[in-house]
């Protein structure tokens, strides 16, 4: 429609392939760098706290998105235990194909934080995790850590 003529033979339908031939390389930023280095070196979770808004960001932010104050010097330790606030079981991978093992993912509020961390749930009892379940971080051994969010292997259910 709109045009005077259309393609009326299916073998005349063509398409052209293409992609985005780039590699992306991201810095973690001022706040992210400190967060991941602390996790890597000392296995501790650092958030930033906006005193005015009484809100603790985890992952930490350089600034408070609410009042726009700088949080550059407002670091506080949180976690490593926390509470599940939302949970899903992923059955598909990025290609839309079934995962060999369904993967539980959760929003976790670390003790002392207001912000929520997204991560995997693993270990025994992972399948029973629900909103309100207490979990704790399982970190990779110090020497395997690379300053990545994957330095946390997963969160596992805990009784405390």
């Amino acid at each position: 429609m709109g045009s005077i003529e259309q393609i009326s033979q299916i073998e005349n339908i063509r398409y052209v392939y293409g992609d985005v031939p780039i590699t992306f390389q991201y810095t973690q930023g001022i706040a992210g760098e400190r967060f991941l280095r602390e996790l890597m070196k000392n296995g501790r979770f650092l958030g930033t706290r906006c005193a005015q808004c009484a809100y603790t960001y985890l992952p930490p932010r350089l600034y408070c998105e609410r009042c726009f104050a700088s949080l550059e010097d407002a670091w506080v330790e949180v976690g490593p235990r926390g509470t599940v606030e939302a949970v899903t079981v992923a059955h598909l991978d990025l290609d839309g194909e079934p995962l060999a093992e369904p993967q539980t993912l959760a929003l976790i509020r670390l003790d002392g934080a207001d912000g929520l961390l997204v991560h995997r749930i693993g270990g025994t009892g992972a399948a029973e995790v629900e909103i309100g379940t207490r979990v704790e971080a399982v970190l990779r051994p110090r020497r395997q850590r690379k300053g990545s969010i994957l330095d946390i292997r997963h969160f596992k259910p805990t009784s405390s």
Binding site: G2, S3, I4, E5, Q6, I7, N12, I13, R14, Y15, V16, Y17, G18, D19, V20, P21, I22, T23, F24, Q25, Y26, T27, Q28, I30, G32, E33, L36, R37, L94, G147, S148
Partner: protein
């Protein structure tokens, strides 16, 4: 005010990156597409495979346009008919490139050009490459003609024309 205060921003050097002083995440995107060529470009690609260039004519403004489109962008109405064009033309402008698309350097330069195609309205050019000529011998306004791949190697692509050469 602008000269007096401290401006934010933390520049990183290549050295800091090389020495691994900054945490980095790399991601190679898997973003792949198959774009519908549609009526106009679909036909255009099919004609390229046959060794021909094709345009569209708008009866209202009387332009014959290439690349072809099913709409006239000047009149906002459908274009009316197909017109076969010659595979020759005139260099409207050219440059001499020592860069690949990703900014890496090449020793033997390529010569991209806008070529006004014979048989289309005045000023109707397409982007292509010049070949069979030294960069210093190319001239603005030079007449050029398509050098096609052999029929069996053509696949219905703008690259079915290897380049345009002076003639």
């Amino acid at each position: 005010m602008t000269s007096e205060r401290e401006y934010p921003g933390t520049p990183l050097t290549d050295g800091q990156l090389r020495r691994g002083e900054v945490l980095l995440v790399e991601h190679e995107p898997n973003a792949r597409y198959a774009w519908d060529a549609g009526v106009a470009i679909g036909r255009s690609l099919a004609e390229l495979k046959k060794g021909r260039l094709v345009g569209r004519e708008c009866y209202r403004c009387r332009r014959i346009v290439v690349p072809p489109r099913m709409f006239c962008e000047q009149c906002f109405r459908p274009t009316d008919r197909w017109v076969y064009l010659k595979d020759s033309g005139r260099v409207n402008t050219y440059s001499i490139s020592y860069l690949r698309w990703d900014a890496t350097r090449v020793a033997k330069p390529s010569i991209p050009a806008v070529i006004e195609i014979d048989g289309a309205s005045k000023g109707m050019g397409i982007l292509h490459l010049l070949g069979g000529v030294k960069p210093e011998d190319v001239q603005m306004g030079m007449r050029v003609k398509a050098v096609w791949k052999p029929p069996r190697q053509r696949e219905g692509s703008i690259r079915d024309i290897r380049y345009f050469r002076p003639y």
